[in-house]
Symmetry: C2
């Protein structure tokens, strides 16, 4: 794989990807992008090929959540459109994902050739990606390519959302200018007057507040404002909650942490802190239906200050161009120091105070399983959960400091989490991922277990097998919620690595947990067999609520 | 599952789907579409749930190719976008596919709610599908829904391309008018004057032709013009060829059949008939790069009459609004009867004249494998092939009358064929599918083997295992073309049905073929182990050509 000394568009793009912070890039090769794969192989990045493109997208998304940026590279049409759902999910959940697609060569773009992997319209893929990215480009000219590449990648890093770069197959070898220093402006600029006024108004409201609280959301993580927010919390003494998409955005062991807010379906003590606050500061939180307890949240907008990445809403008026980081820093300097009233806080760590004593022959239940797992998680882990009961149950796990939590808690692509586990461990090689995934979700993307094995990774995967789409059963059951029962625990053998076990009792679970701890370098694939209708009480509530809202019959 | 007597939008849609000719509908449930799944379950159609949405789309596409129409039903966002690539492929290859997606309820569509499975823009999915469908609609009003449904389904049947119907979750129970008789106008209307002139000009050109020939393409199959074309061929005595996407569009045993034309990479005798014709009638053929031998076709437009579904091009002028069926019928009545010069035709059935004698201990090679298979195919089969060498090799198999050939020979989605096998067998339950799929392609959609087993189907699947993406190796090799080796033949056991075998020698292949014949009701999953670089000479040519055209380095 020659890598000549003169600069080309392909090499320029590779260099910027490296400089953006990528150590890995995910993808599936194809003939519109083989030359670029050669350049990637010759780069400092490691190319991680998955079994299909959608899964590459999911892996890159999860990688981005940990690493700060992720990238996926595929061929045109069949590749770009197969991974599309992953890019939509990244847009929804503010994930900085760079999508790179090969494309038809320059001379074939202007007229309607029926080239393979196309429908004859060479602008189709660009036109579609343009709708779900914050910047998108087709590199049509070697003169303009460097600036296009720089601007597109900068937009990804600034807005924490996907961008799209289409690379016609023959442009990569075209000479272009040498790259200058890569100093993209990725800050969200605040308008000073708006910022000052928003901070002043918020401080004035808080000056008479009796029991203010903070709701911390996912943007605090994405825009890397954790330190600033923790300072604000320490400085003011306010209690705070997170939510499903923002779980573990701040350390859960923080004494002022009150739990994961989820309207009436989350913990009651958390609900009270959030909903009974006379001033609620919502910082970086996305007001999604899932974050709001599926319509059960009772938040009074007239008592709220809602700050997102680039604006602040107080009651019913909005300040635009106010960056979240600046706003938090502004509050920290303007608000008086306060002392936390810890007596009022029902700290989620209390779950750990109660010992768990396994009963060897006793059939496992979902509630006993997660109670056991609460004692199993250690600071070395990263927790992942797929959509469904796994998400709701694992959200109630109490996480040690530094343990990240990865789940698509808004867009909810079932099947996301297994490829995500691949992405997470490559982004954080010193961590051991622990995944909770239902059987229905697992079947969606099952082949990536082989990619996890292929890369020598060691996650602990709990396949929660209750024989079907339980989340849908509790909403509206029908034969369509049944799936085929597999002999799941044979899969590590089929894919050639790690070990699998099926556990039905508390004793068998203990053995499997021990085996996982004792074999820290090996994939542990643990199938947890549960009764078909065994699910959490939260999920039952979610089911009732969604069923009622959508009135199926 | 109640199914009340009064008509509703949901029941109306179900009735029209039944009347359009659907006996099965593919999909994956989700909460925006559970109510509609209830109606589907109560209908005369059988609901076939796959492991993921993309695979449901592929299955429905293949079902449509056999059945004349196919449908897939998924939830909003995560469902609709995951299957998107299948819909693009159906558009490219003219497949009548009805895509049905649930959607947010009517009251939540007008403002930007952050509902799960959305990015907050409720028009996104419609706007995207609109680009690759011939009709698309969101059912927003019970008054207009019946007409919208009728028109959309009619467009699918008329133009043989995908349509999109979005069903907001709460509209399905809204009362609407009773359906009248379903008599959609699905004909392609010809302008009589244009038709007459086009036929007359073509007849005049042919009147002095010395060695005319016909190239028959996929639209003859899609628009159901087989009988008319066969009449024309019998009447004129012209020799004819098909191409990759149109393979088996007419019976290959027809004495005037000269083979599958593929430029210089297909059979030389076929190339000569097509390229040396003084008048070439191209009927329903798509001029794709793959159909044209990857740029090796030497077709002289000034000696061609190119008729497609609704227009005719003679040399450099075009007649619009001329239906293909009318044009063929017109030629048949206008042209004088002729006698075929069979002595000139090098009939592809000659491959069968040579016996195949297996050598028990001899290692299998790709060329010996397909020579053996040529004697194995019987009239009860349907042949499927995935993109890659499987497609090129199986295109040279000589097919008995009535044996259909299914492959995505233009859009080339790797991974299409395994879910397609599911769709094909449900559409033609009296047939036994025979699938050729490479290991790389298989890994893309491997989980649908479980759906094939779940539905009690009996295809014979040849997994051609040469350890990686061979089609890409011959274009441009690199480590990205490696994939993880699986113990493939264990998969039937994991998924709970059928049997698997690994064959390395000619003797082992004989045993497996016998076992497949002797167990006609069971899935036969035969892993054919080949050397890494063992592929057909056609594929080597394809690789060189694509490599040269795209100049990777």
């Amino acid at each position: 794989m020659p890598y000549s000394n003169s600069m080309t568009v392909g090499k320029y793009l590779v260099k910027r990807l490296e400089e953006a912070g990528l150590k890995h890039i995910f993808g599936v090769p194809g003939d519109y992008v083989l030359g670029f794969f050669d350049l990637l192989e010759a780069s400092r990045m490691k190319v991680i090929c998955t079994c299909n493109e959608l899964n590459a997208g999911y892996a890159a998304d999860a990688y981005a959540r940990i690493n700060g940026v992720g990238a996926v590279c595929v061929t045109y049409g069949v590749g770009g459109f197969s991974l599309f759902n992953a890019a939509v999910g990244a847009f929804a959940e503010r994930v900085p994902l760079i999508v790179i697609s090969g494309g038809p060569k320059l001379s074939e773009r202007s007229h309607r050739h029926l080239l393979h992997h196309t429908i004859g319209d060479m602008n189709l893929q660009y036109n579609i990606y343009e709708k779900i990215t914050v910047a998108s480009t087709v590199l049509l000219s070697p003169e303009q390519a460097p600036r296009e590449i720089d601007n597109t990648i900068a937009a990804c890093l600034r807005y924490k959302r996907p961008v799209y770069i289409e690379v016609p197959v023959d442009i990569i070898t075209k000479p272009c200018g040498e790259p200058g220093p890569f100093k993209p402006d990725t800050s969200i600029k605040s308008d000073k007057a708006s910022l000052d006024e928003a901070v002043a108004e918020t401080a004035a409201i808080l000056s008479t507040a009796k029991n203010p609280a903070i709701l911390a959301g996912v943007e605090v993580h994405r825009f890397n404002i954790r330190k600033e927010l923790e300072e604000l919390i320490n400085h003011t003494g306010y209690p705070f909650a997170s939510n499903l998409l923002g779980k573990a955005v701040l350390p859960e062991k923080h004494p002022q942490f009150t739990g994961v807010y989820n309207g009436a379906i989350g913990p009651e003590s958390t609900r009270r802190v959030v909903e009974e606050a006379d001033v609620l500061l919502s910082l970086g939180s996305l007001m999604t239906d899932v974050n709001l307890g599926i319509g059960t949240a009772r938040l009074d907008i007239s008592r709220m200050v809602v700050a997102n990445s680039d604006n602040v809403r107080i009651k019913h008026h909005i300040y635009q161009h106010v960056g979240l980081k600046d706003f938090i820093a502004g509050l920290c300097s303007k608000l008086p120091a306060g002392k936390a009233d810890l007596g009022k806080i029902d700290h989620p760590s209390k779950a750990l105070k109660e010992d768990f004593t396994p009963v060897a022959g006793q059939k496992l239940t979902i509630s006993r399983f997660y109670r056991r797992i609460n004692h199993f998680i250690d600071k070395n882990h990263v927790i992942l959960a797929d959509a469904g009961d796994s998400l709701f149950c694992s959200a109630e796990l109490f996480l040690p400091e530094g343990v990240e939590y990865i789940g698509q808690a808004f867009y909810l692509s079932i099947g996301y989490s297994l490829p995500a586990t691949l992405g997470v461990e490559l982004a954080a090689p010193d961590r051991r991922p622990v995944l909770f995934v239902g059987d229905g979700a697992f079947q969606m993307s099952a082949q990536e277990l082989s990619t996890i094995i292929r890369n020598g990774l060691n996650p602990i995967i709990f396949l929660i097998n209750n024989d079907g789409y339980t989340i849908e059963r509790v909403i509206n059951d029908g034969p369509y919620n049944d799936i085929k029962m597999w002999k799941y625990s044979m899969l590590p053998q089929v894919f050639g690595g790690g070990w699998g076990a099926e556990v039905k009792t508390e004793g068998e679970l203990e053995d499997a947990l021990k085996r996982a701890k004792d074999n820290p370098d090996s994939l542990a694939f643990i199938e947890v067999r549960l009764d078909k209708w065994d699910c959490s009480s939260i999920l039952r509530n979610v089911g009732k609520l969604l069923g009622k809202q959508n009135v199926y019959r």
